[in-house]
């Protein structure tokens, strides 16, 4: 892998981040002359004078009392110091603090989901490719059509209803004590697993089948290539071929899809979190939206975008490690 390639990609990712950051700064300022009015809309029984005072205080608090250019400079300066802004929530917590608090809980869901999906998906996909055209393969094909047509949030509602309310196997909603009582003891880890079961199952049904189908296609695509045919011709057994040669070479597209999954780790579970009242980034964002907490909303947005950019960058670099051709020619 060429050094210049790495540097080029990093610079490019940084450039994209600059664009996203600028968009992020201007979005809440669209359509209003004074952002203070957006941040603190007038309440019921306010008089004009009171509202003026409030706007003045809001301007000072959120730094709107300087020119837009200066605001932008301050914003960038804040970002450089890791300051994503200050939320409207009671106590005016820092956005970065709130994200740090919620992020692990979202990762619990999404990472577990990713691991399960990937693991089971790989197994299923390999089986389907192996038994190409047989019932295993067609079942997977049909399942993948069905699962794409069934949105994950619908599956989540059904599970929450059937397993949560009717059978009472799992909590239909996340126990609010789960977060507060978490202390790394085995007991509390069990509580988390118990509460996370339904969200993870409803997310991973689609994921397993998706990865399964993806693996199957990748494996089949590779099986038709010359070197596999050669290996077969050399008299290696079918199993050996599949596990030694095929799977390894089929990894390439799977890595790409893994990269995509990783960039969606933070923001991918918004609706599921909402259904189960999971205390993660998704509910943080939706609540920020409901309370018009713009600093929090934009902070979370920026964080998610930055995460996606980094994930993309890492995937690209991994990809180029696996497939040196990439560094030479066009990226896509």
């Amino acid at each position: 892998m060429q050094k210049s390639f790495i540097i080029k990609r990093i610079l490019y990712a940084f450039f994209i981040f600059l664009i996203v950051m600028t968009l992020n700064f201007f979005i809440p300022r669209i359509g209003v002359s004074d952002p203070a009015e957006r941040y603190y809309p007038p309440q019921g029984n306010m008089t004009e004078i009171e509202y003026e005072i409030i706007k003045q205080v809001t301007r000072e608090q959120y730094g709107f009392d300087v020119s837009t250019v200066q605001q932008f400079i301050n914003y960038v300066d804040g970002l450089l110091h890791g300051d994503l802004g200050t939320s409207f929530q009671p106590g005016n917590p820092k956005v970065s603090h709130l994200i740090a608090e919620r992020l692990p809980w979202t990762l619990v869901l999404s990472v577990t989901n990713l691991i399960i999906s990937l693991f089971i998906g790989l197994i299923i996909g390999t089986i389907a490719a192996w038994k190409r055209g047989r019932w295993q393969d067609t079942t997977l094909l049909n399942l993948s059509t069905i699962s794409t047509a069934l949105p994950a949030f619908f599956i989540a509602l059904i599970l929450s209803f059937y397993l949560g309310f009717e059978k009472e196997l799992f909590p239909a909603y996340t126990n609010p004590n789960m977060v507060s009582q978490f202390d790394w003891s085995w007991e509390s880890i069990k509580v988390v697993m118990y509460n996370a079961a339904l969200p993870i199952i409803s997310m991973s049904i689609g994921g397993i089948i998706g990865y399964g189908q993806g693996t199957r296609n990748a494996v089949i695509a590779v099986t038709n290539e010359d070197f596999i045919l050669t290996a077969r011709a050399k008299g290696l057994s079918r199993n050996q071929v599949i596990f030694k040669h095929t799977l390894r070479n089929a990894m390439l597209p799977i890595v790409t899809s893994l990269g995509m999954s990783i960039s969606g780790l933070i923001g991918g579970a918004v609706i599921i979190e909402q259904i189960f009242n999971w205390n993660g980034m998704g509910t943080l964002f939706l609540n920020a939206n409901n309370t018009n907490d713009y600093p929090l909303m934009m902070g979370v947005m920026l964080f998610m975008s930055a995460f996606a950019i980094v994930a993309n960058l890492v995937t690209e670099l991994c990809y180029s490690l696996l497939d040196p051709r990439v560094t030479v020619g066009e990226r896509r």
């Binding site: 794409t148 993806g214 918004v270 259904i275 947005m301 996606a308």
Partner: protein, 342 residues
Amino acid sequence: MKIKMKKIGITIGKKIIAIFKGVGRFIAKLWRHPKGRIGLIIVTILIVSAVFAPLIAPFDPYDVTQRAQKGLSPSWNHLLGTTITTGQDIFSMLIYGTRVSLAVGLITGITLAFLGAIMGIIAGYVGGIPDTLIMRTVDVMLVIPTLPLTIVLTNLFGKSYLMIIFIFVLFGWTGMARVIRSLVLVLKNANYVKAAELAGASRWHIMIKHILPGVSHLIIMNTALTCAGIMVAEAGLSFLGLGDPTAISWGKMLAEAQSGGALLFGHWWWIIAPGIGIFLSVFSFMRIGLVMEEVLNPRMKQSSNIYKIFKNLNNQYLDEVFAGMDEKAILGIQTTKEGERV
């Protein structure tokens, strides 16, 4: 002058007839395909219930005077019971909900395909600065988390289906453009295109006469699949309450069922009904999209492009994902395609 107009009229008329004939032939082909037939039947049912909703639905869910007692269980009078929140007839809501889903899905899917195809062809064929510009825009679009941005934008500019369609189109064309572009890059070097260039044909002429037909099968297939994906995504956004607050849509019905206590009361039919609606509409469009691929391009049958289902769908994992694989598949197809042309 008059004669000229008449001639033009006749040509247009002929073209329209040709298009209708083409569509007819196409539907006939779909019908002959067992999988396509299922899709076609479901889509017909959906379209009929969307268009004739007032005739099919026993009640008008928008009409307050036709509301019944709240929270009724299914009966002959109310096939799927009534809602706990307002006493609307759930079966009628289900029928009326078809309208939003189909309208948003079709409008977005077609607009997006149009935009994506233009961008893809320009980027692929013209190359140079337009290509760089388009592909860099695609890169930026890719990293912006779409769902949060949709939430922010509806917060700022108001909740409506127009907004949702706008955002879908704004962010959705990228996937289409990339697929088209990679195919165009191959077609560009095809002998017949080179020949046309040597013959002095203009760029536009080549793009419309030679490139577009070459990618049309991909566009049509992708449109159907995109429509399906958009329908799922629309349901999700409606579920989050980002759609038009007055409209009745399946996603919103699900959200109402959840927030209105369907789970607490044990009214499972209120959840199942809109879920089945979403499932059927997405399923049928996907089926048609997949069958189209086989019908339009029979040689591709063998190259198992099934993973294209996941293209542009809201499925995070597989969304962009198989772009890389796609390219390989397309390359594979193209070798045969070129041979056919030459």
